[in-house]
């Protein structure tokens, strides 16, 4: 029995390794406010909302809204990562905590959640060629 116990433990680990776990992913791209970016994409003009200043329709005219992305994230509108190939991932984290990084180059590591979402474990922003950890502290 004493010989069998360690083997039993090894077998359990082997079984655990075959079990399904949430896939870990890392995505890199531009941090956007997903509502404006989503609406601009629907209009076929995603470039209107890839930066922090967005073009919006007001009184029948297109006008520039400075720091629109930051304002949207401050309100709790989800932030997202737009990758080089144009795919958008909704970041499941506090949007308000990332408001100052909208339009910056970010790298998000976490677990795939739902369709198109990533439960962020780590959020980094590229500054002066180096990655800086800006992971929201609360509830992560």
């Amino acid at each position: 029995m004493k010989k069998l116990f360690p083997m039993f433990i090894v077998a359990l680990f082997a079984i655990a390794a075959t079990m399904e776990t949430a896939p870990k992913i890392t995505v890199e791209g531009t941090l956007v406010d997903t509502k404006c970016y989503g609406m601009a994409s629907a209009m076929g003009k995603p470039e209107m909302a890839i930066g922090n200043d967005h073009m919006v329709m007001k009184n029948g005219k297109m006008m520039k809204v400075p720091s629109c992305g930051t304002a949207c994230a401050s309100m709790g509108i989800p932030t997202g990562v737009v990758t080089e190939d144009g795919k958008t991932y909704i970041i499941i984290t506090s949007a308000t905590a990332l408001k100052d990084h909208v339009s910056q180059h970010v790298r998000v590591t976490g677990e795939k959640a739902f369709e198109g979402g990533i439960l962020a474990g780590k959020v980094e922003v590229k500054e002066n060629g180096k990655w800086k950890d800006v992971t929201p502290g609360a509830m992560m």
């Binding site: 010989k3 069998l4 083997m7 039993f8 077998a11 359990l12 082997a14 079984i15 075959t18 079990m19 997903t34 509502k35 989503g38 609406m39 994409s41 629907a42 994230a73 309100m75 709790g76 509108i77 989800p78 958008t88 909704i90 499941i92 984290t93 506090s94 949007a95 308000t96 905590a97 677990e111 959640a113 739902f114 369709e115 198109g116 979402g117 439960l119 609360a138 509830m139 992560m140």
Partner: protein, 146 residues
């Protein structure tokens, strides 16, 4: 020799149990496809994506707080929404139903977490909706909330 026989038997038994549990999983069915820009209406429970994605039992307003681990967080869903975590509509009436993340101001919806809502809007992609109108189910019917 006897030990190795028992070990082999144990491994086979564990793999068999593992295979049986996966056979019990519901069969995959042909899923509906959604095209970006399509109009869509979804009805379901308003959940906070932070806690619900970690454990599908976290549907109500009060549920275990992720940090500190396991500590019950009163009104946790409202707290998450107010912090700016995305909110979503869980459809299908059960925890394994389809989830639609709402690209909207979740803070405004914080008071309605765990309520039954009807969201109408445009499909951003499969599972992601840009809502144009959100209503809450009340005793008087559907009440406009956003």
């Amino acid at each position: 020799m006897k030990t190795y026989f028992l070990f082999s038997f144990l491994v086979v038994l564990l793999y068999a149990a593992s295979a049986c549990s996966s056979e019990d999983a519901p069969e995959a069915t042909a899923e509906k496809t959604y095209t970006p820009g399509d109009s869509l209406e979804v009805i379901g429970t308003l959940v906070d994506t932070n806690c619900f994605s970690r454990d599908r039992a976290n549907i109500g307003v009060d549920h275990p707080h992720p940090a500190p681990e396991g500590q019950m967080g009163p009104a946790c869903a409202r707290f998450c929404a107010r912090q700016g975590f995305p909110v979503a509509v869980l459809t299908g009436g059960d925890p394994d139903g389809k989830v639609w993340i709402l690209l909207t101001n979740g803070q405004v919806l914080a008071d309605y977490m765990a309520g039954t809502v009807r969201a109408r809007g445009l499909v951003r992609s499969d599972g992601i909706l840009i809502p144009e109108r959100i209503e809450l189910k009340t005793d008087d019917g559907w009440t406009f909330i956003l």
